[in-house]
């Protein structure tokens, strides 16, 4: 079982990078969706004001 720690850290680093990236893009999607909804609401409000 020599070098077991290298094996552990290798796989830990590999999975952390991949799942860390997935977590980052998921967080980015949530932020964008929130921003998108807020923008849509603001635009609708402005259209209503313009029509009035």
């Amino acid at each position: 079982m020599e070098n077991l720690s290298w094996l552990f850290w290798g796989y830990a680093a590999g999975w952390l990078l991949i799942f860390g990236y997935l977590f980052w893009i998921s967080a980015k999607e949530r932020t964008l969706r929130k921003k998108f909804s807020e923008l849509q609401e603001a635009m609708e409000e402005r259209w209503k004001q313009k029509k009035a």
């Binding site: 290298w6 991949i18 964008l32 998108f36 849509q40």
Partner: protein, 241 residues
């Protein structure tokens, strides 16, 4: 404007069956690596990093080609969907490139006694990663109207670098191990090792496609959000005059 966001809600970015298949394949792959495959005689247990390191490199190269071909299609058709696919693929080139190089370094330290050496394979891999890192830096800095075109040119250059990385340990004497597949009469792997390696490539490819699909949708959302922001500013300008 009603339902503009709903175009992103219609269906999940990745079909549930694909997520389930990728998760199952990952578990089987881990079983193959840590339980089923025999330990390599010379290097010992640390050689098992190979079953993740090589599939990560294969996925990285595939991502370079997918990103490059999508960039060419974008230049020909000027369809933003290709630019989104190219961005998604190119970002994964960096992620899987870091996995590939990182795991290689963690293998090199106990086997070679050093973390890194500037041989042809390692240097060309580093340059490839550097090129795609530059792509990610250039992209937000480029003017919006030329962004797709500038980025397409950079990633086509990156794609052209892939054969050099692949051939580097065939054309030059390197400290990096010689190819185990198609490397001549002294190359080859035991059948169990070969099965684990190919299954690892399949698993990594499934995982990669899930990641690219999610990133593609985020890219579409970014584009739609930027478009809506621009329209909001235009509306403000109209109100002002």
């Amino acid at each position: 404007m009603d339902g503009m966001l709903s175009e992103f809600d219609d269906k999940p970015a990745v079909p549930p069956w694909l997520i389930a298949a990728a998760a199952l394949a990952m578990m089987v792959h881990l079983y193959l690596i840590f339980v089923w495959v025999p330990t390599e005689a010379t290097m010992g247990i640390v050689q098992r990093l190979f079953y993740f390191h090589v599939p990560a490199a294969v996925v990285q190269f595939t991502a370079c080609f997918v990103g490059g071909i999508a960039a060419i299609l974008y230049l020909v058709k000027r369809d933003n969907r290709y630019d989104d696919l190219s961005l998604a693929a190119n970002e994964t080139v960096v992620v899987f490139g870091l996995v590939n190089i990182g795991m290689g370094m963690l293998w090199a330290k106990p086997i070679w006694g050093i973390w890194w050496t500037w041989d042809a394979r390692l240097t060309s891999s580093f340059l490839l990663l550097f090129l795609y890192g530059a792509y990610l830096v250039i992209r937000p800095a480029a003017p919006v109207e030329h962004r797709g075109m500038v980025c397409a040119v950079v990633c086509i250059l990156g794609m052209a670098d892939v054969p050099l990385v692949y051939l580097s340990n065939r054309l030059f004497r390197t400290q990096h191990p010689s190819p185990v597949l198609g490397g001549g009469k002294d190359s080859g792997l035991a059948p169990e090792m070969l099965t684990t390696l190919f299954f690892g490539m399949f698993t990594m490819m499934l995982l990669w496609w899930c990641v690219v699909s999610v990133r593609r949708r985020v890219a579409r959302l970014e584009r739609a959000s930027a478009d809506l922001t621009r329209r909001a500013h235009e509306l403000d300008d109209l109100r002002r005059y």
